[in-house]
Amino acid sequence: MTDTDTRTVVLDLLATASGVSAADLAALPDATPLFGPPVGLGSRTGAQLLDRILATTGVDVAGEDLALESLTSLGALVGFVADRR
């Protein structure tokens, strides 16, 4: 699977968790933070997102990234998942 495919998968899962459409997410720059607007991820929705990423891609973000640095931005999360697939 290519990095582009991974990005599409992560954005789809993020759309489900955040309520922001995948199309709107795709238009955001990689540096966009996940917490706070416009994505607005919270603690509960963030945990749900990592559950779905694990179920869909097999990448255990919560287990492999204890500091959750991969949640600092959209690009960081996509990159983290892409590097481990």
Binding site: L41, G46, L66
Partner: protein
């Protein structure tokens, strides 16, 4: 009834460890009542067994809620939603998140755990059908299974294993609180916008110093919370007193009320001062209030009472508490990794973020009581 799976284990009961049961899930036909509801003549109603009602009341008084999983015509649910007899009304009054339909029991139990926000391992199915117990044991092995007779015998024993070793004065209200939560979900479904629903809930969070009267609830909350819990401290009433006496320490609790009712004490923070810094040695927030900005507002309120807003929150990482790490990051904090299952959440000095618009915070931490 589906064909029996080839790998069904023996239909022995499987009891979760002591103190683990939060929800007892009752089968109906042949367990809660002796009849089969859909086979009764027109106008006849099943009669819940008095010993089952008494058992459910005992469980509720100790904070163990009752649910229902019954493989039957979904229309039988009307016996609980609009109970036609006093005995059925008594049963309905004790039940939360019932599941009635033709799904497998394992599927129903998973749905009940999801709705109540508890782990599957905290469920105990009471079912006099060996097939149903075996189906759950095979497909949802974390859940416990037992028979009505075995459960009643356990409750009649001097030290029932199904009951928690300790309860607080709030434990007996747990069934009511889950029922209020069901009303919240029903109301939320009528709002297209979640923020608008939350604004209409009149959510009021009170943060105050704990008093001696809070001790049992603090101990209980630290033991029961998993998703939003730092899980580094194990407390019983004696060790709680010893912890408090061991240094410059304070306990802060949070309570939540909304227009649907009183959630009771939903959060606790064990705070210790040392080397000019404040450490949250234990943090536990009830999962019942997740998803409405409450845990974040609780931590933020604590930061208002710490010099410069700097706060350290050590966390023992488990598979269940990723939400707490996520909370630290969502509030602008960082996580320092100390070991394979140890991190410290750190909030740098600076003004904490305001609570969400829909949440009113009543901060009762007076200066002389602050950490």
């Amino acid at each position: 009834m589906p064909d029996q799976p080839a790998d069904v284990p023996p239909a022995d009961e499987h009891r979760p460890p002591a103190d683990a049961v939060k929800v007892v899930v009752w089968d109906l036909d042949g367990t809660t009542w002796d009849d089969v509801a859909v086979e009764l003549p027109d106008g006849a109603r099943p009669e819940p067994r008095p010993d089952v009602l008494a058992a459910a009341r005992t469980l509720a008084a100790h904070g163990v809620v009752s649910s229902v999983a019954s493989r039957t015509d979904p229309a039988v649910a009307a016996l609980l939603t609009d109970p036609p007899t006093p005995a059925l009304a008594a049963l309905a009054d004790l039940v939360v998140a019932p599941r009635l339909g033709w799904q497998d029991k394992s599927v129903m139990l998973a749905a009940i755990a999801d709705e109540l926000g508890v782990a599957v391992g905290s469920l105990l199915l009471v079912d006099d059908s060996g097939f149903e117990r075996a189906e759950v044991a095979a497909r949802l092995p974390a859940a416990g299974t037992t028979t009505r007779a075995a459960l009643l015998a356990d409750l009649a024993a001097p030290h029932p294993t199904v009951l928690p070793a300790r309860t607080s004065t709030e434990s007996a209200d747990r069934t009511r609180r889950y029922q209020a939560e069901a009303r919240r979900r029903e109301a939320a479904a009528s709002y297209a916008d979640r923020d608008a629903f939350l604004a209409a809930c009149d959510l009021r969070l009170t943060v105050r110093p704990a008093t001696p009267a809070d001790r049992d609830r603090v101990v209980e909350l630290v033991a029961r919370a998993h998703r939003l819990a730092s899980t580094r401290v194990e407390l019983d009433p004696a060790s709680y007193d010893a912890w408090l006496a061991a240094g410059d320490r304070r306990v802060v609790v949070a309570g939540l009320v909304d227009r649907f009712g009183d959630h009771g004490t939903i959060g606790v923070a064990l705070l210790a001062e040392g080397d000019g810094a404040t450490t949250v040695e234990g943090l536990a927030v009830s999962c019942r209030v997740a998803g409405r900005g409450v845990p974040g507002a609780f931590v933020t309120t604590l930061r208002h009472h710490v010099t410069g807003g700097a706060l350290a929150l050590p966390i023992r990482v488990t598979s269940a508490n990723v939400e707490l790490r996520m909370l630290v990051r969502s509030l602008g904090g960082t996580l320092e990794v100390l070991g394979p299952d140890e991190v410290v959440g750190r909030f740098a000095p600076g003004p904490p973020p305001p609570p969400p618009d829909w949440l009113h915070v009543d901060d009762r931490l007076a200066p002389q009581e602050t950490p």
